[in-house]
Amino acid sequence: MRRLPRVLLIGGLAAVTAGCLTLMPVGSHFQRGTDFTRYQTYAWGPADALPLSDQRLRDNPYFVDDVHGAIDREFQDRGLRRATSERADLFVHYHAAVTGRLEVESRTGRYRDCVGEECRGTVSDYDAGTLVIDVVDTRTQQLVWRGWAEHRLEDMLDEPPAVHRRVQDAVHRIMRTLPVTVQARARVVAPEVTP
């Protein structure tokens, strides 16, 4: 019984590590010194030349709709209101890039020693999709925040309900990394914009 907390702790750490490393790594960068509390409105930025770098994503209307909807919802949950591009404090745009990646299944940990063919790990390739969300200050035209999540592309081309869930999850995880000041303000402002 005394070993249970340690087992749970190690299990928890393993689950978190696996989640970070293999399921959906998320990260963000922001402009230091930016007062995010002064931003109240946003608009979709001018269309990027190639927001979706891969034909499979461009041909998937569910993916585009889901990304737009999820970003709108996350911003509004944080108290930011959508405005016309002339009046918005922030422009938002996103990119979805696809990169070919390798993964290796190594035998280390299971066999301390191996001979010839046994030593070979299994190498396979897959397409990784990276969803990048950029937030630009409309006054200075400077990028103030960029957040991203990575996931296997094949999971983003699945059945519409599965794509919807994964996009919601990815956007939610990305937006959780917004600077704290924005989220803190949202708790005050959010009730005012709720119908």
């Binding site: 005394r2 907390p5 340690r6 702790l9 190690i10 750490l13 790594p25 998320v26 990260g27 963000s28 960068h29 922001f30 402009q31 990119h95 890039a97 990169t99 990646r101 390798l102 993964e103 290796v104 190594s106 035998r107 280390t108 301390r112 020693d113 191996c114 001979v115 010839g116 030593c119 070979r120 790990g121 190498v123 990276t130 990048v132 400077q142 990028l143 960029r146 991203w148």
Partner: protein, 179 residues
């Protein structure tokens, strides 16, 4: 007390992992054009820089990455006696950054038929390349480059900045100090 003692290996492993990631080895190379004495150049300015970072969509046109990298290069050039000027610089500085996956085979004898504790790992290798071009002739006079394991350093902004600082310092340590 028993519980604390039980946590020591876990905390220790976490610290070792953090230190390993923070101090991933950096491989540095540099080239100097024949019959050029780089230390005789005194001033520099920035040339055109391509903000694309092939191989890593997170860094592609990422203002924060490029601003920090540029600042780190400025700091190291200054510390080696070079001065920035917008008028008539002696050299123009360019840089390129990229990322690619690499395969690493570890083990006690990985090149032989038999090996103990062999492991194949895939890692993300980042490359930074700094060029100094003679502003008068347009000829490349010095190139320094470094590769390191990115190992989660892009997702964490502070760690990315530390990595960039260390990489640029290592590259420009190869540049002769101004005479």
């Amino acid at each position: 007390m028993t519980r604390i003692r039980g946590l020591i290996p876990i905390v220790g492993a976490a610290v070792v992992a953090a230190v390993t990631v923070a101090c991933a080895p950096v491989t540095v190379t540099s080239f100097t054009a024949r019959e050029v004495q780089v230390s005789r150049y005194r001033t520099y300015d920035w040339g055109t820089v391509d903000t694309a970072v092939p191989g890593d969509p997170r860094l592609d046109n990422n203002l924060f990455f490029h601003d920090y990298l540029r600042g780190a290069i400025d700091r190291q050039l200054r510390s080696r006696g070079y001065e920035q000027t917008a008028l008539t610089p002696d050299v123009r500085v360019h840089y390129h950054a990229g990322a690619a996956q690499r395969i690493y085979i570890s083990g006690s004898e990985p090149t032989r038929e038999r090996c103990g504790d062999c492991a194949v790992q895939v890692y993300d290798e980042g490359t930074v390349l700094i060029d100094l071009v003679d502003a008068r002739t347009g000829a490349l006079v010095w190139r320094g480059s470094a590769q390191t394991d990115l190992a989660g350093s892009v997702d964490d902004q502070a760690r990315m900045e530390k990595t960039l600082e260390r990489v640029v310092e290592r590259i420009l340590a190869k540049l002769p100090r101004r005479s």
